[in-house]
């Protein structure tokens, strides 16, 4: 589609092949096959419990899988230890609950990993952090603690924290679901800006507007399976499966 059209045979940024995952008896990911080329924005939709979060968390191995392969930028996921930490450093993740470090100021949240993991100097990391906070529009909140910020500001800080590692790809797991309605837009705008700058993104969300506006591709999941994989236009105007039609019917009538 977009960046994959280049002449170099670059590997996809994310590749999942034959991935299965169980929680005890519960089969939560069923034979997942998906490739996300560099620069593409993929929105993952699906009803609650369909395995969207698990898919997202499997990519940086916050959830280990039972079988199949996952590759990031052409390299298979390491099992544990330093190599896994190294891979995670290249994969940014944004959570529904923000998960900012509550005992550290916003700027310290952003500089922590660049200093501890990338071994940047404090001054260098701080300079980059301030630029990122400025980019997400909260530079004036840098010295505050997370609890002193609104939800929307906290989530933008969390995005800046992930970007500070200069990740190759960003994963978002329902980044706006815990926000008051009036703060949803500021976070979506930040994400749309990232998408426009060419970041590879996998976004689990219920925000159909964002899917239409920023996504190159929509993946629809149900019961642990990928049921549809198409362009936003195709998906919203002519969904193929009954489960997708049913899902869209429920979402769009709200």
């Amino acid at each position: 589609m977009t960046a994959a059209e280049g002449s170099l045979p670059t590997p996809p940024m994310i590749r999942m092949a034959g991935v299965d995952k169980y929680f005890g008896q519960l089969h939560v990911l069923r034979d997942i096959n998906i490739e996300v080329p560099s620069g593409q924005v993929v929105v993952v939709l699906g009803p609650s419990g369909s395995g969207k979060s698990t898919l997202c968390r499997a990519i940086n191995r916050l959830e280990p899988i039972n079988s199949g392969t996952i590759e990031v930028d052409g390299k298979p996921l390491p099992a544990e230890g330093k190599a896994l930490a190294g891979l995670r450093a290249d994969v940014g993740m944004v959570f529904q609950q923000f998960n900012l470090f509550s005992h550290k100021t916003i700027v310290d949240n952003v500089t922590l990993a660049p200093v501890k993991v990338r071994k940047q100097s404090a001054a260098e990391a701080k300079k980059a952090a301030m630029a990122l906070l400025d980019r997400v529009g909260i530079a004036n909140q840098a010295e505050k603690y997370p609890a002193q910020l609104s939800g929307g500001q906290q989530q933008r800080a969390a995005i800046a924290r992930a970007l500070a590692m200069q990740p190759k790809v960003m994963l978002f797991d329902e980044p706006t679901s815990a926000l008051d309605p009036e703060m949803v837009q500021e976070v979506l705008d930040t994400m749309a800006g990232l998408a426009k700058d060419g970041m590879t993104m996998l976004v689990v969300t219920h925000e159909m507007g964002f899917a239409r506006r920023a996504a190159h591709r929509v993946v629809f999941m149900a019961d642990g399976e990928i049921v549809e994989d198409s362009t936003p236009n195709e998906f919203f105007t002519a969904p193929k499966s009954d489960r997708a039609k049913d899902f869209l019917g429920k979402i769009l009538t709200h």
Binding site: M93, L100, K104
Partner: protein, 215 residues
């Protein structure tokens, strides 16, 4: 007052030793207790069992027995020779760390797992996640019970008097040989401990004030 001023050297030496015992075994207990708590939350089952075993045994043993072990049984093992002072420090540390471990562990449980997950997702290793995200917040949330443990440790140092360490608990017996009034002596010793505890509680208040901003 004469009891105090005539024997100032005895009081000063006694409390100086008490403070030394407290500082050495306090630092030792915080380090060992935290290490034990890390064992008890580790993903490795053997480590968890080892931590649990230690806490179960030591926490259920009277402190005097721990002292007796290190004073009389330990030397028979022919390991490193310990002075009376170091023997007391080891006994106090071994005992107190079991309690500190449980306090730290309850603090670890108050830190939202999402924060540890976010730290792992950024590429921090297990030790970095514990050291920079989990433990600092765990300590903040258990400051009051932690201080209670340290105050108990301060008072427990008086058991060392029974094991040839001339700390504040021994002041009474020294002064009774000099024929001083025992009641007055004990009152002055008690006042000394109250002053030391007040220092600890003011440290607690200062830390509480500083850390409350971050919430």
């Amino acid at each position: 007052m004469d009891v105090l001023f005539d024997n100032l050297d005895v009081f000063a030496n006694g409390f100086y030793t008490t403070i030394q015992l407290f500082v050495v075994s306090g630092i030792g207990s915080l380090i060992l207790g935290t290490a034990l708590a890390m064992l008890r939350v580790s993903p490795v089952p053997v480590f968890r069992s080892a931590g649990t075993l230690y806490v179960t045994i030591v926490r259920n043993t009277p402190l005097t027995l721990v002292f007796l072990f290190f004073a009389f049984a330990y030397p028979r093992l022919d390991m490193v020779d310990l002075s009376f002072f170091m023997t007391a420090c080891v006994a106090l540390t071994v005992y107190t760390s079991a309690f500190i471990c449980e306090v730290v562990r309850s603090g670890i449980n108050t830190v939202p797992v999402g924060q540890a997950e976010a730290a792992r997702a950024l590429g921090l290793g297990f030790g970095q996640v514990l050291g920079t995200i989990v433990l600092p917040q765990a300590f903040r949330s258990v400051l009051p019970p932690m201080m209670s443990m340290l105050i108990a440790l301060l008072k427990n140092t008086t058991i060392a008097a029974g094991f040839s360490v001339a700390e504040a608990g021994q002041i009474r017996s020294i002064l009774s040989e000099r024929g001083e009034n025992q009641l007055l002596t004990l009152i002055f010793v008690a006042v000394g401990f109250i002053l030391l505890v007040m220092i600890l509680t003011s440290v607690q208040r200062t830390l509480e004030k500083r850390w409350s901003v971050a919430r």
